[in-house]
Symmetry: C2
Subunit: 342 residues, 2 copies
DNA sequence: AGTTAGCACTCTAAAACATCGAGTGCTAAA
DNA sequence: TTTAGCACTCGATGTTTTAGAGTGCTAACT
């Protein structure tokens, strides 16, 4: 689509004014915002053309214009100028992230929180996860006479714990044997391979201990399964409540969608780089009234997880993209360092 | 306050019809709900009396009646019949709780979730916590070459972990020394005693290792502090969005309140047994339009933490109380067993 | 004396209608 | 090609009307 410079400037002004005010913008307002002198009538003619091209729309005949999905698309692709976060903003984010730097789970919680606060939308992040990851270590910690905690560390950087309970007193001896056996058999194995069948087999090699420690084995299975699926951390849903665009039943639909972690994961992991999905582009009916900005983060140069912002279509995309890319970069770096240190 | 049997029955019907329908109830509707034959005119006379006693109110002259705060109070204190959860409901709750039985944190998350689902309100629970609790064990688990996790188990049943990072490679040796020293010095100590000063002193006795492991000491301090404060788990806030009584700005106020964990903790821990705070009774202006039902749970017979439901004043109190008491009982039993096993 | 039918009265919610004004599209002149 | 001018459109806002649910009171009834 080829637009004259003037049309582009007018479209840009229209999008930005609308994003700022939330109300359809009229020719007069645009007139005043342009950096060259032109009458409102001229602007009206141009607006009429832009409407015909499907870049702008009118709620009704005598209202101002607002960007259509295509309009936003064009804006994002061609008109938006990349903005950077202010030093202040970066400082705040950095200090927030640093406080949870060495625990990938907590790190991603912090990321979601920061992103939600920055954009005043819902923010999601997935842990690195992935079935391809490999078990790096299995550790046991006794937590009381008859309970202990299994800690599973994967090559994807996740660290999961689970507490289990036995019907007899746990001794350091037992844990040690258990630890040795499990590390021998499990370290280096792909997470997806930890199936009930495998655990069954493992039980066999443990002999009579297997019966005693069946709850421990279940815990290992559980925790492996949990590590395998990239889990998602959602924050700031309540921000959406205060967007006028979700008045009434609209909130329900989107909150419903957000409450389904599998769907969220699928959405987040389906592309690469930074993507902006406007309205129907996400192909999720529940998100037809929303936009999603997704950015993948990489660990040691390989795609690992993703972070995303979900909010109304009316967004300051420049700002959101700046924020999300900064965060994706930071997370990538931090997790890379964390894993490189191995 | 002494009411004739008939007045009591009428008040009961009024409360229950209003709770069910959400609309002011008229004399006709009450008429039909009563188990003895009486005309609407008679009911009207009684209603008039009940209004004068301040138990019912009218939104405007020609509307039906709805319970005032005092009306609900009377209902809860004298009219409500204790209901029990259905077998089905108990089954669902039990299985949900069992899945996280041995980790107090997860258990309380499950409790909040169950309670929120059951009541369609916001639900909160506090972990046993308490400054009086004593450190039972400090454990270390290496999680990568330069990171490790500290696990702190308190006598209150809490178990907290924190990952820390060192600038040199951690060896099992180092962790062992560290483990020994810390257990020697810290086990049996009251959580509230773990101050920066104490840690400082501890560092001295570690000699040169203290410098290497300063981040580990910080982590211990951190995790002790976190264990000391009973932390709260809030779930189901979004349920409140769908209550008609919180239309508009009302949501904001209550969500604000719910987002302040210290205030929530204070509210939950301020009494004993099961308490029903209706409207202003909570003495929190942000909750004047809400009711809170709180139940303490006990570990080994001693008050430990609390769980609560926060929602609109228009509540099926019988149901909420049944649910919360069942859950408080279950949690108490489970945690008692868990700690008794020591 | 307590209960009830009957009725006038009250007050809101919903519908119908009137008005205002922002913003458009078109026309004709510059 | 641009712009001033103007008739026109259509939602937002405010006002009036109407309908109906529910009350309180009175007077008759048991």
């Amino acid at each position: 689509m080829d637009l004259s410079i003037r049309k582009q400037k007018i479209l840009k002004a229209a999008v930005e004014l609308y994003v700022q005010s939330g109300m359809p913008v009229g020719s007069r307002a645009i007139c005043e915002a342009l950096d060259f002198p032109v009458s409102s009538a001229t602007v009206r003619n141009e607006l009429s053309d832009l409407s015909e091209l499907g870049l702008l729309e009118q709620p009704h005949t005598s209202a101002g214009r607002l960007p259509s999905a295509r309009g936003y698309r064009f804006y994002v692709d061609h008109l938006m100028k990349k903005r950077l976060l202010s030093g202040e903003e970066r400082r705040v984010i950095d200090s927030l992230l640093l406080s949870s730097a060495y625990d990938p789970e907590k790190l991603l919680t912090s990321v979601s929180k920061a992103l939600a606060a920055l954009t005043r939308c819902a923010a999601v992040s997935t842990t690195p996860g992935g079935n391809a990851a490999v078990i790096r270590a299995v550790q046991f910690v006794q937590t009381s006479r008859r309970t202990a905690m299994v800690v599973l560390i994967s090559s994807a950087g996740t660290m999961k714990t689970r507490v289990f309970h036995c019907d007899f007193d746990i001794t350091p001896e037992i844990l040690r044997v258990f630890f040795r056996t499990l590390n021998e058999k499990l370290v280096g194995r792909v997470l997806a391979d930890i199936t009930p069948a495998l655990i069954q087999g493992l039980a066999a090699s443990l002999g009579e201990m297997a019966i005693l420690m069946s709850s421990a084995l279940m815990a290992v299975l559980d925790v492996a399964r949990e590590s395998a699926e990239a889990d998602v951390c959602l924050m700031g849903e309540s921000n959406l409540l205060f967007c006028p665009e979700y008045e009434g039943s609209g909130v329900r639909r989107i909150l419903d969608f957000l409450s389904r972690p599998e769907e969220l994961t699928r959405l987040l992991l389906e592309g690469t780089g930074t993507r902006v999905l406007i309205g129907r582009e996400s192909r999720r009916p529940e998100l037809y009234a929303s936009s999603v900005v997704i950015s993948r983060y990489a660990i040691a140069g390989r795609d690992a997880g993703a972070i995303a912002v979900i909010g109304p279509i009316r967004q300051d995309y420049g700002r959101v993209i700046a924020g999300i890319e900064y965060l994706a970069g930071s997370v990538g770096t931090m997790l890379t360092e964390l894993l490189d240190a191995e």
